[in-house]
């Protein structure tokens, strides 16, 4: 099935000839029309360093994605033991030792900011490497192309198969391919829902038809979207649906490493004839290998293009050719605009400058946000109180001439065990505190990992009634470990 071996050299020539592939860069600038129907791309298999790197990244990302929900993390008796869990009903997010409550979603904001800045940083360093290696769209498309190649053969075999009239062979191959795609799609959807419930339980429930409807529908939707995006639409998603290609232009500069073709070395391109003297010609032999492997259907020799995802497969393809014809590698390579210009003006090239204003600023921002998050995470209280002063009525006059204010106090116990608290006030003379439904103000019980609400009245005798308003503090103390939280609020009296 593997067609790569066809691109081989007659044993006689030391500088082997390389077959020119008859391929059109379907997304070539001149052909790129918004109104044109899609032309199918048949990416040829590439081999080489970057292809290997891509396999590795794919293996790593998929492994993380599929395995992560199965990791366990012991949090004690009152909490789930799944290392990564988004618990919607209980409104908690667990991530190893971190546990995030709804009012702490700013951690999520922080993570998103770090992710965005990270993307900026990596883009300013090496262009769209996110797109080329780690983007889920790329990873799954790559996986789907691999399946396709496995079932239908490489580029030319696939083209031939598609041209064939319907036959048992064709139908069989196509069905196997689509079935495998659907299976992968299903595994994708399946893995996703495990992040939202106890994975082992959910797996059993899924197969015994006990799982909630939303689990099945999520699997169905994700199966469909993976199948359609990864199997059918592929480069269309990157080119037409994804906003990122439009944004990246603003993030790369002349020092960014960009997959590019050295036209000073390659042009004018011409087919290679045996025993031709290299001193008389340029290095590109116009074999179109770089075009044939491109999953985006472009010709890198046309220069920077919006479609290019910097997957570097064209580098692999061309380097293989260069090896075969015994020319220096990296006619296509990760290179900077600076170097392209220096070569054009005959200057020596220089190492890419990794440390420059842009990358320093991004790194500094990432560290700042990261440290800030870490600091808040480490100093985070396991006790939170929230005080609501009654607005209606603002205060109540008592028969002895004193004044009483009502408060709703919410105590958030973030520990995984029941705790008892004591409420006291500070900064209000002769205040009498009572908690509705409790004798006294001590031993107020808050269940593990829960929020409890108490109605609290504070009364002051006539002599101490403040004129208008007075600030004071509520002090909530854990009766057992002495942990306390102090929150300020106001006491209202009549304006005298």
């Amino acid at each position: 099935m593997d067609q790569a071996s066809q691109v081989s050299s007659p044993a006689t020539a030391p500088e082997a000839s390389v077959e020119k592939i008859d391929v059109d860069a379907v997304n070539k600038k001149e052909e790129r029309s918004l109104y044109k129907a899609r032309v199918k791309i048949y990416p040829k298999r590439a081999t080489g360093f970057f292809r290997k790197l891509k396999w590795l990244v794919m293996a790593a990302t998929l492994a993380v994605y599929y395995v992560a929900p199965w990791l366990r993390w012991d949090r004690g008796p009152n909490a789930p033991d799944q290392a990564i869990l988004i618990d919607f009903p209980a409104r908690r997010f667990y991530f190893f030792f971190i546990e995030i409550w709804p009012e702490e979603v700013y951690y999520l904001t922080g993570l998103l900011i770090i992710a965005a800045l990270g993307l900026f940083l990596i883009t300013s360093l090496a262009g769209r490497v996110w797109c080329g290696y780690t983007c889920p769209q790329t990873v799954w498309t790559d996986l789907f192309i691999w399946v396709e190649r496995f079932v239908e053969g490489d580029r030319s075999a696939r083209i031939r198969l598609d041209k064939q009239p319907l036959s048992v062979n064709k139908v069989a191959r196509k069905s196997v391919k689509h079935a495998l795609w659907l299976l992968i799609g299903m595994a994708t959807g399946g893995a996703w829902i495990f992040y939202f419930a106890d994975a082992p339980t959910l797996l059993v429930d899924l197969f015994t038809l006990q799982a909630p409807v939303v689990a099945y529908s999520t699997v169905a939707v994700l199966t469909a979207s993976t199948y359609i995006f990864g199997g059918m639409m592929r480069e269309q998603v990157c080119t037409f649906m994804c906003p990122w290609p439009r944004i990246q232009g603003a993030l790369v500069d002349e020092d960014s490493l960009i997959v590019s073709y050295k036209d000073d070395r390659g042009e004018p391109r011409a087919p290679f004839r045996k025993n031709q003297d290299w001193s008389e010609r340029a290095d590109c032999i116009d074999c179109n290998q770089c075009v044939a492997v491109c999953p985006m259907g472009i010709d890198i020799r046309d220069g920077q293009q919006l479609e290019c995802i910097h997957c570097a497969l064209c580098i692999d393809a061309c380097n293989e050719v260069m090896t075969r014809i015994d020319r220096p590698l990296n006619l296509i390579s990760y290179d900077t605009f600076v170097n392209h210009e220096r070569r054009a003006t005959g200057q020596p090239t220089q190492k890419p400058r990794l440390i420059r204003a842009r990358t320093v600023i991004y790194s500094a921002l990432i560290s700042a946000v990261g440290l800030l998050m870490l600091a808040t995470l480490l100093t985070r209280a396991t006790l939170d109180i929230n005080i609501l002063h009654d607005r209606n009525p603002l205060f109540v006059k008592l028969s002895d001439g004193g004044v009483r204010n009502g408060y709703t106090i919410k105590i958030l116990n973030k520990q995984h065990e029941v705790r008892r608290f004591e409420i006291a006030v500070d900064g209000l003379d002769n205040a009498l505190v009572t908690v509705v439904g409790h004798d006294g103000t001590s031993g107020l019980e808050v269940p593990a990992d829960k929020l409890a609400q108490f109605r609290v009245f504070v009364s002051v005798p006539p002599a101490s009634v403040p004129d208008g308003r007075q600030d004071f503090d509520f002090i909530v103390t854990d009766v057992v470990d002495g942990n306390r939280a102090v929150n300020d609020t106001i006491f209202r009296g009549p304006e005298k």
């Binding site: 109104y35 009654d390 607005r391 209606n392 009525p393 109540v396 006059k397 008592l398 028969s399 002895d400 001439g401 009483r404 009502g406 509705v436 439904g437 109605r455 009245f457 006539p462």
Partner: protein, 289 residues
């Protein structure tokens, strides 16, 4: 089409003849998938007419195949909610007020129900926060004309004050001035006395004279020392809470013309469970005894 078929030089596509600021619109057909989406929505809407109520007729409407009605759906949901509450409501109906207050689950339910019933039925007079207005008692404070224990509160809710219910209660303060029971100077004296016992600025000479008037005319209802008597619904006069106001002028008006507040009887208008929830809620406002 009326316009001449002009072709765009760059794309070779016909223009529609529309032009804005020199920009001409190309006559491109809709993408096919868009067109199909449109056709499908049209078909969908026809299916919708068949299945659901859709077209208004002169005096009715097309009812659809399954007789669906959003009004009915709301009714069903309400019935469902009632059904879900019925367990608690049943318990509340049979439990005593103390039992309700002793069971935290039942208490929470009763407080929530009481709050909403209060907002609907009571807040018009007593205020949204039960803070009261002049003539309408504040239910948050610790002064109760007819008693602030849960049962007493419930009695007041059940039968009201001066309502049309047979078991209702009256506080019958005479209009001392209007009916000529007291002379104007006597009224002024007794007002000074009330100012004195409630700890306000007063003329002590007049107050001393007023004390005699008070003992003779007022003590029967308001108590020997003005401490109030709940059976007669006569408020305590020695504290700093006043239903109509405790200043000299207001007191004088009160003694002269008397006050007759009213409260409707809720028995018969609200069911037993609701009234119990209301009593528990009002008691919980902070002043309950």
């Amino acid at each position: 089409m009326a316009h001449n078929a002009e072709k765009d030089a760059v794309t070779g596509v016909e223009t529609t003849g529309h032009e804005w600021d020199g920009i001409k619109e190309l006559n491109n057909p809709l993408p096919r998938w868009w067109l199909w989406t449109f056709y499908i929505t049209v078909l969908w809407s026809i299916g919708y007419w068949v299945v659901y109520p859709a077209w208004p007729l002169v005096s009715s409407y097309t009812e659809g195949m399954f007789g669906y009605s959003s009004r009915q759906e709301v009714m069903d949901r309400i019935a469902e909610a009632k059904e879900a509450q019925s367990e608690y409501l049943g318990k509340i109906e049979t439990a005593s007020l103390d039992e309700i207050r002793g069971d935290s689950e039942l208490l929470n339910f009763a407080l929530a129900g009481g709050r909403s019933a209060f907002a609907v039925n009571c807040s018009q007079c007593h205020g949204q926060g039960a803070q009261g207005f002049v003539g309408y008692p504040n239910l948050n404070d610790d002064a109760w004309i007819w008693g602030g224990k849960p049962d007493e509160i419930m009695t007041t809710i059940l039968y009201g004050i001066r309502s049309d219910h047979d078991d209702t209660r009256y506080s019958e303060m005479p209009a001392f001035g209007r009916d000529g029971l007291l002379e104007r100077p006597q009224i002024n004296e007794v007002v000074e006395y009330v100012l004195q016992i409630s700890g306000q600025d007063h003329d002590s000479g007049m107050a001393t004279a007023g004390k005699d008037v008070f003992v003779e005319q007022c003590a029967a209802c308001h108590g020997e020392n003005g401490e109030g008597i709940r059976e007669t619904g006569a408020p305590r006069l020695t504290d700093s809470i006043w239903l109509y106001g405790g200043d000299r002028d207001t007191l004088r008006a009160t003694v002269t013309n008397a006050r007759y507040g009213v409260m409707p009887a809720w028995t018969g208008r609200l069911d037993e469970a609701t009234i119990k929830q209301l009593a528990v809620y009002v008691h919980s406002l902070g002043g309950g005894e």
